[in-house]
Symmetry: C3
Subunit: 300 residues, 3 copies
């Protein structure tokens, strides 16, 4: 692995290796040496949380970062091309971590520069480090990635997180349950892809039916802005809120995951149950990103 | 000590211990090991100077920081609650240093997360690390905190700095002299508190009367914006400016302190006298903040 | 050397010593110890690229930085003078690196504070670290600074980069060729200065005439904004674009340098020729800045 641009480039073996390494870093069995190593955090599209997570990953290993946020940098204003910006940054940093609103921007970066590139989100397309940290969280809580029953809830049409996760888990014989408002359903392309790989999935109207079956429930935000008519949002929003009262008959190993930030789709009364795992999931992101950085820099 | 939220939580023993540790750090008799330690600087209300001081404190010990400034972060825009923001940050950082315009925000943070929280200013309420660095500066210049004559000059009504300092010094048998425009006098609540503790204070109209008596004069800005009628400001502003010519009969140990930034309330002709101590006071802030951070992280 | 404010303060010996040290740092023959060392990056006028370069220089040596960008900092808003801001920063940092739009601002800083100051650009005046990295790039590619034929192309009137470079190279017996639009010619003051030092220069209308003679061609942007009449810009802009097709008869050691960012004045088809050196030149800037920082801090 030289870059991490898309989950489509990551083999099942890569996934297992990265999860293994993240665990070793978390348990301090592996302590990568990053002093003097510098990552450029190029967030052309801002994202506080993802930025902090990568920043933490580098700094807690003893490396450091510099950051460019937004497109209002002076070089861009002076008429510089994205290619020249990337080339110059690659003369300073050891690694580029890039978020951009244009799909394919991270791939372009990887083809332009000689240093490793990590895609930290390119538009509605890919966010592979999120998928990897989700899988690390699943492995840690379930003891395995194999043969799990996973509910995906919320905006399944536009959420790149659930697309990447569904594709990445397909290698591990999951059963998926999809629950979303009518017009925010999982896209046909993803469903066809799952079918082609022999993955079983069901679309489920009422959450309550499936909760006792599940190992993992992965919840995402339904964004009000996606609805043309506000009344449509008001009608559906309460059907997709997870509350403590719905979790009475769950399995012992059941966990609720959420990529955060949440608005109200997981009620705060879930936070103090043993099923809430979203904050630990955020912490897992630091270890997984350290594993990815370490691997791409050849320091594993 | 797990958090530092208010001077009211800090005992006389804590004060003395922190001053002792700050001195040892300044003299390099104690070198705390902070490599891999990460502080989150959450400045919901901006403050360049306080931010730099904490940033310096961490980085010169070999630790590092990440910063959030303003309330325009993307997660807040997406509708995330302060509680969720704090919970997530606490998954990344080892320590939260927080400034917020709402009184009690730092207390709320300390009750929310499992990592230590330092209040870097919550509205007009508390700014305990400023009070601690002021006391460290007094100890260094006077050789003691006990039995000192301290003038407090300027805006005594709204300046949280002078409130915290007055309360913190009360344990050390000071005599206070308060000098301020009529409508910016020290609040009755603070004066009652001092009286209850047996502290002697006087309100003084003319600065010149008291200067030869003083060990320390602590000056704060009078903010033009506080005056409804600009003429009122013009009338009073010159009465509260410290000039070199006023310092002819001071004691040898006399020092002028100021939390900075100043506008014109200490004339620049004071800067080159042996009495000016405000810039060294700023440097002392770094050592005191290192002492506080070291103590809260259990590395003292 | 205590500060680096202007190339006029840098002797020929200083230049050679810094180039030697930059080479040793690049080849890791010298590894300066910067842990716990903190540079303040005060960019009152923003410059992404110069900021990143200094930031990288400090961080890759194991030091760290804090940054102030723009003039909208809270202390400035509160009415603080530049002198007080600098004094306070000097209580926190070990080194000030400063860019300001006012000529002489860096000199003022050096006279105000007790720590070293590096001028990272003061208006149209000086940008000495750029001149030093340019000379390091010339030395690396030519094996010498002496007796070279150097073309300077583009905006020679307002570009501080070419002024500093012309003056600094004057000690090494160069021959200069100046090519620029009529109203963007090298100022008389610089030409007089070169004549006084016995430096030979020619003003050349057509680039193509001189390219086969050159060891180095240094290209700068022609800024559209400098033209009162847009048609004037359109008329000249294509005369000053370097294209691959113009480089057929160049010397083997010929290199194109550019301080970046470029707009279109060096065609991208030059990038893949062995003559393009502008991105490596950017990398050289990190090593030269490390050499300068190391020298000013007395760690050489």
């Amino acid at each position: 692995m030289k870059n991490l641009i898309s989950m489509r480039d990551v083999s099942k073996d890569d996934v297992l290796r990265l999860i293994d390494l993240a665990g070793k870093i978390e348990r301090k069995e592996v302590v990568p040496e990053m002093s003097g190593v510098l990552a450029a955090l190029l967030f052309f599209e801002p994202s506080t949380r993802t930025h902090f997570s990568f920043d933490t990953a580098m700094k807690k290993l003893g490396g450091n970062t510099f950051s460019m946020t937004g497109t209002s940098t002076t070089s861009v204003k002076k008429g510089e091309t994205l290619r020249d910006t990337l080339m110059t940054i690659s003369m300073y940093a050891d690694l580029i971590i890039m978020r951009h609103k244009v799909e394919g921007a991270a791939r372009f970066a990887a083809e332009t520069v000689d240093i490793p590139v990590i895609n930290a989100g390119d538009g509605a397309n890919q966010h592979p480090t999120q998928a990897m940290l989700d899988m690390y969280s699943i492995q840690k809580t379930q003891g395995t990635l194999n043969d799990l029953k996973i509910g995906l809830v919320g905006d399944l049409r536009l959420g790149r997180t659930v697309h990447s996760l569904a594709q990445a888990m397909a290698d591990f014989n999951p059963t998926f349950y999809f629950t979303s408002p009518q017009h925010l359903q999982m896209p046909a392309a993803i469903k066809d892809d799952l079918t082609a790989k022999g993955v079983h999935y069901e679309e489920v109207d009422d959450l309550r039916e499936i909760i006792p079956e599940l190992d993992v429930m992965y919840v995402t935000r339904i964004q009000k802005e996606r609805f043309a008519v506000p009344e449509d949002y008001e009608k559906v929003k309460n059907s997709y809120i997870i509350r403590k009262s719905m979790l009475e008959n769950v399995k012992d190993n059941f966990k609720v995951l959420h990529p955060l930030p949440r608005v109200n789709e997981v009620s705060t009364d879930v936070d103090n149950t043993p099923y809430a795992y979203y904050f630990q999931q955020a912490r897992n992101g630091v270890f997984m990103r350290q594993a990815i950085i370490t691997t791409l820099l050849g320091k594993a």
